[in-house]
Amino acid sequence: MAQVQERSDLAVVIGLEVHVQLETETKIFCGCSTEPAAEPNTRTCPVCLGLPGALPVLNEGAVEAAVKVGKAIDADIPETTEFHRKNYYYPDLPKNFQITQYDSPICQDGELECTVEGERRTIGIERAHLEEDPGSLAHQGGSIDTAEYTLVDYNRAGTPLMEIVTEPDFRGAAEVRAFLAKLEEVLEYLGVFDPERDGSLRIDANLSVVDADEIGADGEIDEAVLEGANRTEVKNISSHKGAEKALAYEAQRQKNAVERGREVEQETRHWDESRGITVSMRSKEEEKDYRYFREADIPPLQVSDWKEEIEIPELPDARRERFQSEYGLSEEAADKLTSTKQVADFYESVAEAFDPDLAATWVADELLGELNYRDMAITDIEERFDEVERLIELVDDEEITVKNARETVLRSMLDDGDDPDTIVDREGLGKTSGDEVQAAVEEAIEENPDAVEDYHSGEDGAINFLVGQVMQKTGGSADPGDVNGLLREALEE
């Protein structure tokens, strides 16, 4: 019988299994492309269809990606690594076994640091291993239980996956989100992961609620206590935002149960994103027996030499610090500019061509701000970095005003897809010549005698009104500082 407990006495313990799709050109055991295809069953061959007699041959690209991940999470990479068969029948599994790694994974005992509410947290990573993705099922006219029939597409079968298993080190849903965001960032930096790809991140989480006293000052929890606590496995989470929502919900659900004196049932639950709740999978699953044994078709792989040879790029944390020291950026700006490898690379190229401060303003504030406003990502404009550079050049050369660059040119670039020079021409934004400004100044003085009078009677605010009039006449293309000077000159005459 669970005891009735006060909410403040309860703590949440979470561990994750994260499936990450590794970016490789070809599948893990055959030469088929990993690019998504519109037509089902077109990216297939005898190997990934599991045809009789076909044999898997390990893609070294997948191993290389896994070693990079291992180095980035500071994991132990063993002398040799082996593959095993995980035997179970399922219609999306062409061979009715999955080739995966069992007792000699390619990465063991790693860790990853992340920041949660300004505090550094180190999450232990128990293991990370390579495996093949099954195909995908399309249930026609319902769910898996109610569909009229189901179609199988093997295009995805054999896509390389890395399963990353953390220690039960999370004490809340916010930590999970921060960790996953950090993991995605690192994987992207390594060039082994594409967050835009459908299904590229899949998360299962184990969550249990324990007495808060059981958690030591160092955040550690006794294994026996954890074993004793009933936990639920939450499946079907596909983003770090979704993970936070799902686990916050599930934590609350378990706490409520415990507070009401009910026992948390040990079960698998499904995260229903649209309803924002976790649902019991019902089917009382008995402990599955996968009958693991070594896959003899893939010889044990010597990975110790790979570890030495494979280099990984500068990781985000190191780069963030360097941006601060090398370019004199604030922590906040450095944070934004290292949010993805692409942003950081773009920033560095702009900073070199122009000025680090100008580059920071334009990339971190203007560009990312406008993209964010439009729900766009940096990847949406990666083909147009040269246009953004041209815009910054126009500002740097003072050919257009900052105001116009920001409010007209950049926005039109993103909304209409035009290039900056076209927009400047079309909108007549090239900085107006001295004569035109002078004429506008004279016109403004002539048309607004009241303001002129106010100016002369010492009301300095009147000048701002006149500046505004001139700016209007020149379509905003004059420099407000210059206009101010010209007006004062003319009014003193």
């Binding site: 269809l49 007699g53 009715n96 029939y149 003899a296």
Partner: protein, 425 residues
């Protein structure tokens, strides 16, 4: 043809030139041939037509060989008599009324009957050597990794190799030359030149046994039929007369070979044969209702009794709670057997034994007694467990029931076996 040698007769033409131009090579029906059905002797695959050629088929074609048909076999290679085939049994051309051995019975019978010049079989626990011995022809089981298995429909993938069958050692060596060598589609293949050999197998068939040191494992003579033992010693005498010498050796681990072999082979089979669920190919269990039941229906209908027996036993041996007791123990025995062979081969050039402890069974004789069939593999299975090469050559002049002599060599020692074997056939 009265013997029922082929499951499918066909003509697959090879290139015009090549070392096998003008010769026919019968192919066991578990090796994939593009556009020609490949049944594994099973009702499950009665209508399965592979969309691709196995590597050895490509190599046969490039060597100019013509494939006259796909030969009968025990279902999925599971048998020692070719009687578990869904396509009926094959008669032994060298001993009518008797089984041709198995599981490559059709391939050995094709050579013995002169239906094909040469043949390919596959050997998981003796499936090339046993029918070679029973049909009075030559059969080679290559070192694991010498011949690509790409396209070979797996029974027990850590044990099996494709190997040649021929009337003489020299011809078997010629066929081995064509099919051997690394293949990027089979990650377990290895290059013999990295292991102290070349691929000039046929030229090694010179019959020179002068100075050859033969080890005779006493364990492999215990329990053999007297008639077999007599023929065996006659052959050893013959080799001795040509300058070879022999000594008896003991490999105590061999006592456990048959058990270890069957646990490993059945375990692997339970996984290898899981893909036959009727969805993509093979006997269908229909598409209505629960998929699990449809899979079960396909397997119930498509597989024969011996295949079902081995899948069930293999599933059991891998199950939680039994894995350590059976599968892991069998792997330990395998390591021990490999060690025993290494030691014995450090004192001898080759090891010799009867290939089969018995002469061919009469047709139908062993069908109801699987244990009798399993025990007949006592001399051949240790070689697969040790990943070593072996050859079976016909010996003795009794025309009634053929007897084979098996020579076992070190890894990639095929040339040594061919040289010694060619002194006898």
């Amino acid at each position: 043809m009265s013997e029922n040698i082929y499951i499918t007769e066909t003509t697959i033409e090879g290139d015009e030139d090549g070392p096998l131009a003008g010769r026919t090579v019968a192919v066991k029906d578990n090796i994939s041939t593009e556009g020609v059905r490949t049944t594994c002797g099973s009702a499950m695959l009665e209508e399965y037509v592979p969309p691709y050629d196995g590597t050895v088929i490509e190599r046969l074609k490039a060597a100019g060989a013509t494939i006259p048909g796909k030969t009968n076999m025990d279902e999925f290679g599971m048998g020692t008599t070719t009687e578990t085939s869904a396509f009926g049994s094959t008669d032994n051309p060298a001993a009518p009324g008797h089984v041709p051995g198995g599981s490559s019975g059709g391939s050995a019978a094709a050579v013995a009957a002169g239906e094909a010049d040469l043949a390919l079989g596959t050997d998981t626990g003796g499936s090339v050597r046993c029918p070679a011995a029973f049909c009075g022809v030559v059969g080679i089981k290559p070192t694991y990794g010498l011949v690509s298995r790409y396209g070979l429909i797996a029974y027990a993938n850590s044990l099996e190799q494709i190997g040649p069958l021929a009337p003489s050692v020299e011809e078997a060596a010629e066929l081995l030359e064509v099919i051997a060598g690394p293949d990027e589609r089979d990650g377990t293949t290895r290059d013999a030149t990295d292991h102290g050999s070349d691929y000039e197998y046929a030229e090694a068939a010179d019959g020179d046994v002068d100075g050859l040191e033969i080890g005779v494992p006493t364990e492999l003579l215990d329990g053999a039929d007297d008639r077999v033992v007599d023929q065996f010693w006659n052959a050893i005498d013959d080799l001795e007369a040509r300058g070879a010498s022999y000594h008896e050796v003991s490999l105590p681990s061999l006592e456990h070979a048959v058990e270890a072999y069957y646990v490993i082979a059945m375990s692997e089979a339970s996984s290898n044969l899981a893909r036959f669920d009727g969805v993509r190919y093979g006997t269908s269990g229909g598409y209505d209702g629960n998929w699990n039941e449809a899979f079960a229906a396909a397997r119930e209908e498509g597989f024969g009794e011996e295949v079902k027996r081995r899948i069930l036993l293999g599933t059991y041996a891998l199950s939680a709670g039994y894995h350590d007791k059976y599968y892991k123990k069998a792997q330990d025995a395998r390591a021990w057997i490999q060690q025993d062979f290494d030691e014995a081969l450090s004192e001898a050039d080759v090891l010799a034994s009867p290939t089969m402890p018995v002469t061919p069974f009469e047709l139908g004789e062993s069908l109801d007694d699987p244990m009798k069939m399993y025990l007949a593999d006592a001399n051949t299975t240790p070689v697969n467990l040790a990943n070593l090469p072996a050859i079976s050559v016909p010996v003795g002049d009794d025309p009634g029931l053929p007897v084979g002599l098996q020579l076992v060599g070190p890894a990639f020692g095929e040339k040594r076996l061919i040289r010694a074997g060619s002194a006898l056939a």
